[in-house]
């Protein structure tokens, strides 16, 4: 589409004004306040209408500003455009009372109905916003409105162009997922768990073997046992020698036929009694008086017997005859009585004498007997059979010895009993020690089993550490693949509703042209944040000079415009003092490039002569319109 000419019935300062445009470059020159912006606004309003603001905003809105200054005449105009070889005339009345839009196909000479829809089609679906942000580039307004972002996004979202991209992304994702699987196969997932459980096991084994019952006290027990053993054997020796002694003593006593102290004492007592008896008997038998007495008694008995016989005889004679002169007393019966008494006395003395003789004999015999007994005793105990006081003293001393021996035996027996008890307790101790030692040995054996197991566990931990390190390495690879996948997925979804992708290449191409190759590439993200690519880094747009920034936005606008217009006929490009910030060189290259690269009508509003000069210097064909 291109503008052919326009007629303003009344719009701002313009009243009944005609302008016509060339196919190529049109330069509209006017000093400040010449009405360039009004003209620019008129063109826009011809395409998109002019809506009144509501309420207080209406006071200062475009509608109010553009009301014809003369206050009378129509608030209207018309514009003629050529679109795909057909000339159309667009007529509009802006006034609120008589608002109207008419499009007439001048080639065929008929009105186009419906006008609005046709206009949209003609403008390639540009809305007022997109129009303002792309092909219509206002004064100092190279930066795009925020509204542009959503417009562009909507636009791109509706474009059905992501087929190849999706394929690419799906394939790349599948490829990455496969590689991920390969890595996952190499993972040893149970390693971490085994590692923790092994560490737990090691801790518990270590705790277990540090328990007091595993303490190695073998040496202590062995020492104790050796000590106990020595002591026990000493005691045993003592006991044996004691027993030996006891046996000897016992034998000594036994050979003396003693059994205990009492037997010795009674034996001694008996012997002593016997000795006394012996002494008595000997003493009695050695005395002369009994023998004398016995002889005397026998003599007296004989005298008495004889006297009695005599007396008896006399008495017999007297009776028979008084033959003898015998005292009266001896006469007769009294003589007989006397005789009897004499005989009785004689008998008495006889008996006495005999008994005395018998007694003497008995005593002698007794003495001999006790002597014999004593001799026997002494010869047995003293080895000498002589019976004497010395012997009996020796005997008593000997008996004393026996007594002592016997007492000693008793004591020894007690000592032996005690030793036996001690030995038994030592033996017990030794056995305890042996038990403890065997327990210790068993514990040590158990401990060594545990230590072996511990070593095994630790070795496993070491190798698991390596497995874990390998796992970590693999996980890093997997994390990298995940990041790659995530990035690709993110990009694909953000690209799907972004235009950056489509905009980038076009804008990059353009920026190279506009900047004469200073910048060759730019990136635009989905929020229209712009970065300049340099060899080394991405430079955010706000870090470049404002002149460059203007160029960049110009490039972006043109790229967006190209994007919207696609392959359709190009819309006119309207630049309203867009080059104000450009220096001469930059302006020159921008204008040349624009002329060369924009295949459509270009309308440049300017308040400077320099654009015209550049065009003249460059020999670019253009139409100059002065307001």
């Amino acid at each position: 589409m291109k503008l052919l000419d326009l007629h303003i019935d009344g719009f701002g300062k313009f009243h009944d004004r005609d302008l016509s445009f060339d196919d190529g470059l049109n330069m509209i020159y006017g000093r400040n306040e010449a009405g360039k912006s009004t003209l620019h606004t008129f063109i826009r309003c011809m395409f998109f209408g002019l809506e009144r603001g509501r309420g207080r905003a209406s006071k200062n809105d475009c509608y109010s500003r553009c009301i014809p200054w003369d206050g009378q005449g129509a608030y209207s105009g018309r514009i003629r455009v050529e679109h795909e070889g057909t000339v159309y005339r667009i007529e509009r009345n802006f006034s609120k009372e008589q608002k109207s839009l008419t499009i007439v196909d001048e080639t065929l000479g008929r009105e186009v109905i419906p006008a609005k829809a046709f206009l949209d089609e003609m403008l390639c679906g540009l809305t007022e916003t997109t129009y303002s942000n792309t092909i219509s580039i206002g004064q100092l307004k190279s930066a795009t409105d925020g509204g542009m972002v959503s417009e562009l996004r909507n636009y791109i979202a509706n474009m059905n162009t992501s087929g190849n991209m999706a394929l690419n992304i799906t394939k790349a994702s599948a490829y990455l997922k496969n590689r991920r699987k390969e890595f996952e196969r190499r993972l040893v997932p149970e390693a971490a768990r085994s590692y923790t459980s092994l560490l737990g096991e090691i801790r518990s084994i270590e705790k277990e073997i540090s328990a007091p019952e595993y303490e190695n006290q073998l040496k202590t027990y062995q020492d104790t046992r050796a000590q106990v053993h020595t002591r026990m054997s000493e005691k045993q020796k003592d006991k044996e020698s004691l027993l030996q002694k006891i046996a000897t003593g016992q034998q000594a006593l036994g050979s003396a036929q003693f059994s205990d102290e009492d037997s010795i004492q009674s034996y001694e007592a008996e012997t002593m009694a016997t000795y006394r008896e012996y002494q008595d008997a000997r003493r009695s038998s050695e005395k002369k008086s009994p023998v004398v007495l016995a002889v005397l008694s026998l003599i007296l008995a004989a005298i008495c017997g004889g006297l009695g016989g005599v007396l008896l005889l006399r008495s017999q004679i007297m009776l028979l005859g008084e033959f003898t002169q015998i005292p009266d007393i001896l006469s007769g019966s009294s003589g007989m009585a006397l005789a009897a008494a004499c005989w009785a006395g004689g008998l008495l003395f006889l008996v006495l004498g005999i008994s005395l003789i018998l007694k003497g004999k008995r005593l002698k015999k007794e003495a001999a007997m006790t002597c014999k007994v004593l001799q026997e005793i002494f010869s047995r105990h003293l080895g000498d059979s002589s019976v004497s006081d010395e012997a009996i003293e020796a005997f008593r001393a000997r008996m004393e010895e026996y007594l002592r021996l016997s007492q000693m035996l008793v004591q020894s027996r007690l000592a032996v009993d005690k030793l036996e008890g001690e030995v038994a307790s030592l033996k017990e101790q030794e056995e305890d020690c042996s038990d403890a030692i065997s327990r210790q040995q068993r514990m040590q054996w158990e401990l060594e089993k545990k230590l072996d197991h511990l070593t095994h566990c630790k070795d496993q931990v070491e190798s698991l550490k390596r497995v874990l390190a390998e796992n970590d390495r693999i996980r890093e690879e997997i994390a990298a693949i995940d990041l790659a996948l995530e990035t690709i997925t993110d990009l694909s979804s953000s690209i799907r509703d972004s235009f950056g992708l489509y905009l980038n290449k076009t804008a990059s191409d353009m920026i190279a042209g506009i900047t004469d190759g200073i910048y060759t590439s730019m990136s635009v993200d989905e929020n229209l944040n712009i970065f300049m690519n340099t060899r080394t880094r991405l430079v955010p747009i706000d870090q470049v000079s404002s002149g460059t920034m203007d160029q960049v936005y110009l490039a972006l606008r043109l790229a967006a415009a190209r994007l919207f217009q696609g392959d359709k006929e190009k819309l006119p490009l309207i630049l309203d003092d867009s080059f104000v910030l450009y220096d001469e060189d930059r302006l020159q290259s921008a204008i040349r490039w624009l002329y060369k690269s924009y295949q459509g009508q270009i309308i440049v509003f300017t308040c400077h002569q320099r654009e015209a000069k550049i065009l003249a210097d460059s020999g670019i064909h253009h139409r100059m319109i002065r307001l």
Binding site: A174, E462, A480, I481, I488, K505, S523
Partner: protein
């Protein structure tokens, strides 16, 4: 007085326990220790100092018996041992009741003590670990008692958690010689006043270089160390190597180069390769086969696919690839981000190729 000094034998350890050569490594520790005993015999030394970590763990009775046998073969050599952090003395330890042959002295005390060998005029000081750590810098304020004996200190430590020590102060502490242990890398003081023999056998991939023992001699008259040298005994080394690749390097070529490197240095060693440089993005190095065939503990592939992201971005300013690069590429990328960039670009380029 001639002596050998070793430490950190870690008897009973199984290094690289998940690798096929781990048993051989465990055996090598024992064999090299037996070699130390042989050396003691051959060199006709008076003393063998073992400065801690003779065992990797609490020793078992059978370990003690094994070692006691070895010590019994050198009855003329005084063997003085202290316990380190690994074989620290626990109440349950079999050491508590073990009877060593007469030439072996294990200083079991937790506090500094000494043993005196009259015929050598030698007093050996030391103490054993009873706890896993000793953070108190007990050696730094230590001074050798005034004495006319040759004074040797055995100590195990040297890092923050195990007897932090100031080497200068140790040199000036007045001992004829300080036999240290715990640090697995050999180190000899310039004035011969102390030395770390390092671990007898290298015990993991970080313990590179040669490993062995220290052999020295102390003059009985000056009571100074007159000679001190490191004697390599361990046969196997861990050797770290860096292989540089270029985009022209292929997997086979790299494999051949690594094989060649190993053959040049000997197949008994254990290798650790780091691959650096830029590789062809289409090639991924598959060296698993190599790892199975040789004693290679790990191959760390740090090579990066050679993408020219600027070039790529210029070629694809407005499609997924360009967007992807823009989304991820920045200064100071984390390794994951870097890899994500490679993976994504690889995927996009591959699938793009498929599409075209």
């Amino acid at each position: 007085m001639k002596f050998l000094h070793t430490a950190d034998i870690h008897w009973g350890m199984t290094p690289d326990s998940d690798k096929p050569w781990s048993r051989a490594r465990a055996q090598a520790i024992k064999e090299t220790f037996a070699e130390v005993i042989t050396q003691a015999k051959l060199r006709d030394v008076d003393c063998l100092f073992i400065a801690g970590d003779l065992f990797h763990r609490q020793p078992l009775l059978r370990d003690l018996k094994e070692l006691n046998y070895l010590f019994s073969t050198i009855p003329g050599v005084r063997v003085v041992i202290i316990a380190g952090n690994h074989d620290r003395i626990r109440p349950s330890s079999a050491l508590m009741s073990f009877v060593w042959c007469p030439n072996v002295t294990w200083i079991m005390e937790e506090e500094m003590t000494s043993v005196y060998f009259e015929d050598l005029n030698l007093e050996v000081y030391g103490f054993s670990y009873h706890s896993p750590e000793i953070t108190e810098p007990r050696l730094n304020r230590l001074k050798a008692p005034v004495s006319s004996h040759i004074q040797v200190l055995l100590a195990h430590g040297g890092d923050a958690a195990h007897l932090p020590l100031d080497r200068n102060r140790l040199s000036e502490a007045g001992f004829s010689y300080v036999a240290l242990g715990h640090i697995h890398k050999p180190e000899i003081a310039p004035d011969f006043s102390y030395a770390y023999p390092g671990s007898l056998e290298p015990l993991d991939k970080t313990e590179t270089g040669r490993h062995g023992i220290i052999a020295g001699e102390i003059s009985p008259s000056t009571r100074q160390v007159t000679s001190l040298e490191f004697v390599p005994l361990a046969g196997t080394q861990y050797i770290p190597l860096v292989v540089h690749v270029t985009p022209a390097t292929t997997s086979m070529e790299l494999s051949a180069r690594i094989t060649q490197e190993i053959e040049n240095r000997g197949g008994d060693h254990i290798y650790r390769f780091r691959i650096r440089g830029m590789r062809d993005p289409d090639i991924s190095f598959d060296l698993e086969n190599l790892e199975n065939r040789m004693q290679i503990i790990e191959i760390i592939d740090e090579s990066e696919p050679q993408y020219d992201f600027n070039q790529l971005f210029a070629e694809h300013p407005s499609d997924m690839i360009g967007f992807y690069i823009r989304a991820l590429q920045k200064e100071d990328m984390s390794p994951v981000e870097k890899k994500a960039l490679f993976y994504g670009i690889d995927a996009l380029l591959c699938t793009q190729d498929e599409r075209s």
